[in-house]
């Protein structure tokens, strides 16, 4: 906060002087009076550690934080299998990092309990991994089937992500589901059927998908602060500047422009040539007339010299100017301008 008694706004584009000597300031309030020299190793050591503590004028304000503990089994839970690449990691174009065989679903406690009961005394009957994969496939196929049906019937995008649409299992018939399971996850018929029934039952009880990704997003008008991640309409500002499109037409247009510009360049070159030739013509005519005049009026003895000069000039490559015209006549004096005169006057009152 500015302690100055004059609250004048600061102009950001104004060049401000950098003052090194604080005695020049109107007031040195709030600034250290004397250079502070630290010969203290302890003080210097203090300053080396990155600080989270701000030593404010009000007093030292320490911001405490809750505790951290190391996980004992980390070294074996996470295995050192990563190999670093020389190049920066980038996703595959279009596909990104989506792995089609990665089983997105994870068994929760209810699933684990059912599985344990189902397996009973035969723990090998159905493995957790296979169960997980089957549930995942059921979820994804069901969502795809629902989406397909709704799109075909012309449903709006909003309807397709509604709670009802996400919750329904009506669009994937039992046969289709079992068929799909047979193709993707090898397991005995009875097991597949049982898993399907379990999944169906669970969906009916929950009234929503098992996988978070497939669940309906919170409706925008839901005010409950405990519900999160509502989809937001991004405000579309139409471009006010004319947009440059990047397609075939504009390429053609640019090609045309290029041709035109090159042709114009040729035309200008011809123009320049023509004007030069005209200028040279004028010079030559001037020379010729001068020569004729001199021949008529000059005395005999100088005749030969004059003729030699002009002959040389005629043979010269680039006649700059006609002979005797190296210096142009003095330019006319600048026109007087009352206003300019007045501005330039020295004894103007300030």
């Amino acid at each position: 906060m500015s302690r100055s008694f004059r609250a004048r706004p600061l102009d950001v584009s104004r060049q401000l002087e950098l003052i090194v000597d604080i005695d020049l300031l109107d007031s040195a309030e709030g600034l250290p009076a004397r250079p502070v020299v630290h010969n203290h190793a302890q003080l210097d050591a203090d300053n080396e550690k990155p600080k989270m503590i701000e030593a404010a004028a009000k007093g030292v304000k320490e911001i405490p934080i809750p505790g951290i503990v190391r996980v004992r089994t980390y070294g074996t839970d996470y295995l050192p299998v990563r190999r670093e690449r020389n190049t920066y990691i980038r996703p595959k174009g279009g596909v990104g990092y989506d792995d089609p065989i990665f089983v997105e679903y994870d068994l929760d406690s209810e699933d684990e309990a059912w599985l344990a009961a189902y397996n009973g005394s035969e723990p090998e009957r159905l493995s957790a991994e296979k169960f997980e994969m089957m549930l995942w496939r059921l979820e994804v196929t069901n969502a795809a089937a629902t989406d397909r049906v709704l799109t075909l019937s012309g449903a709006a995008p909003a309807e397709r992500i509604s709670a009802a649409a996400c919750a329904t299992t009506d669009h994937m018939p039992r046969e289709e589901a079992l068929q799909m399971l047979e193709e993707t996850c090898s397991a005995r018929d009875t097991i597949r059927a049982d898993v399907y029934e379990y999944w169906r039952g669970r969906r009916a009880r929950l009234g929503r998908p098992l996988m978070r990704r497939l669940m309906a997003p919170t409706p925008v008008n839901d005010q409950n602060p405990y519900n999160v991640f509502r989809p937001r309409e991004r405000i579309h500002r139409p471009q006010t500047r004319r947009r440059r499109e990047n397609n075939q037409d504009s390429l053609e247009k640019l090609r045309m422009i290029r041709e035109n510009v090159l042709k114009a360049l040729d035309i200008f070159e011809c123009l320049v040539k023509r004007e030069r030739k005209k200028r040279d013509l004028v010079y030559v005519e001037t020379d010729m007339q001068q020569l004729q005049i001199k021949q008529r009026h000059e005395a005999r003895p100088t005749q030969e010299q004059v003729e030699a000069d002009y002959a040389a000039a005629a043979r010269a490559k680039n006649p700059k100017r006609p002979i005797g015209f190296d210096k142009l006549p003095d330019a006319a004096p600048a026109t007087t301008n009352m206003l300019l005169d007045f501005k330039a006057k020295k004894n103007k009152k300030r």
């Binding site: 104004r14 300031l25 550690k49 990155p50 701000e54 809750p66 996470y78 406690s109 991640f229 509502r230």
Partner: protein, 397 residues
């Protein structure tokens, strides 16, 4: 004689983990599992930020200091004047905790629904951390006290064995985004909220545990997440991040910023702030963090602005304008002015504004800032500004 159980809103002194007693207020209470009438109490320490709020047993209290809440007046549905005043007092005591920018009504509502931490501890990779604030996890996780996060895709689980089973499936050992910076073992990944929605939502759930005023009200599609990782033979481990709107109307170059508690005090927060401005430099646009800033955030930003500006002033001569400083640093002129004023370096000479650039003043302020944290090497950034328009086209079709 104090009547038990204690009422919510009671003020009294409570013993903290350092053994000392601090003034506190009871926010909630619940019966202890397996007992008939024993209660535990959720307290807020009045001098500390809400992140220190916790469940404590009755024995932690100094019952001599109990100051019961005023009983509600009959016919007055909610708060009495007395209670309202007390609440305001509490807030005014917590001035400087980062609440000033808030509308008091909104603040009360926010605190009301986030008043009690749900998850108390989490396990993420190498560390188990205590949480700081409430985070709105899906309903089935509401009664959970500890969550286990998979370190790579930030998926969360109620039981450790479930997390481990999931972990065995995971093949992607880094955030699902583009690596835009690599220097030594530190990498930055840019993750698009639209393309990697689940990851970003998980990240938000996780981050909310440590950020008070972050809101998860809207979805992550419109944001980019810049995740900072320490890399080793086990993969890229997220240590912090900042989020940024794809197209910010107010010129914010950063929405939320967090260094996970287990990795604090390594200069990573300062790194993230610097990085956000490096991106602004590449974009050619000035930027500023979204307000309100948390208490830790404000300290870090002040320190960063001070350090960068003073290092420029140290080597400058003659004159300089605020606009010049803005062009060099991509800081907003408002931020520059407020920083310099806070340091009393905007002064007057003969009635005109000047900047005090006395070496001893500069050195003193720089000393107080501490180190520059982990520095960003701009030559190692491989990034081009996000094309929000093209992204919008894809979404709209």
């Amino acid at each position: 004689m104090v009547r038990l159980p204690l009422e919510v809103s009671t003020h009294l002194e409570c013993k903290w983990r350092d053994g000392k007693f601090y003034p506190a207020r009871i926010i909630e209470r619940r019966k202890v599992d397996g007992t008939a009438d024993e209660y535990e109490y959720y307290v807020h320490y009045r001098k500390f930020n809400r992140r220190m709020d916790e469940w404590v047993a009755l024995e932690n209290f100094n019952l001599d200091t109990v100051c019961p809440p005023e009983p509600p007046e009959p016919g007055d549905g909610g708060r009495t004047r007395g209670q309202k005043r007390k609440v305001d007092d509490d807030h005014s005591e917590e001035e400087g905790e980062g609440h000033e920018d808030f509308d008091p009504q909104q603040l009360r509502e926010h605190e009301e629904f986030t008043k009690v931490k749900n998850i108390e501890k989490i396990e993420l990779g190498r560390f188990e951390m205590e949480t700081w604030y409430y985070s709105p996890f899906p309903p089935e996780y509401r009664d959970c006290k500890k969550l286990y996060f998979c370190e790579y895709d930030l998926q969360f689980f109620k039981h450790r064995h479930q997390m481990l089973r999931h972990l065995r499936k995971v093949k992607l050992l880094h955030p699902p985004g583009t690596e835009i910076y690599r220097n030594g073992n530190i990498s930055m990944f840019e993750v698009d909220g639209r393309k990697a929605k689940t990851y970003c939502q998980n990240l938000c759930y996780l981050a909310k545990l440590f950020l008070d005023h972050k809101t998860l009200y809207y979805d992550v599609d419109l944001f980019l997440f810049y995740v900072m990782c320490e890399c080793d033979e086990r993969g890229a481990h997220a240590v912090g991040y900042f989020s940024k709107e794809k197209a910010s109307e107010e010129g914010f170059n950063l929405a939320c910023i967090l260094t996970l508690p287990a990795y604090q005090r390594r200069g990573y927060g300062k790194f993230l702030i610097s990085f956000s401005y490096e991106l602004s430099k590449i974009e050619g646009k000035v930027g500023t963090p979204e307000r309100p800033l948390s208490d830790l955030g404000l300290v870090s930003y002040r320190s960063h602005w001070t350090r960068v500006l003073l290092n420029i002033l140290k080597t400058s001569e003659g004159t300089i304008s605020i606009k010049d400083l803005s062009d060099m640093t991509m800081f907003k002129t408002d931020d520059i002015i407020s920083t310099l004023q806070h340091l009393n370096m905007i002064q007057y000479m003969k009635g005109q504004h000047v900047i005090c650039a006395a070496p001893h003043v500069i050195e003193e302020h720089l000393r107080k800032c501490g180190s520059a944290g982990l520095e960003v090497d701009p030559t190692k950034i491989v990034w081009c500004p996000f094309d929000a328009r093209a992204d919008y086209q894809i979404v709209r079709g």
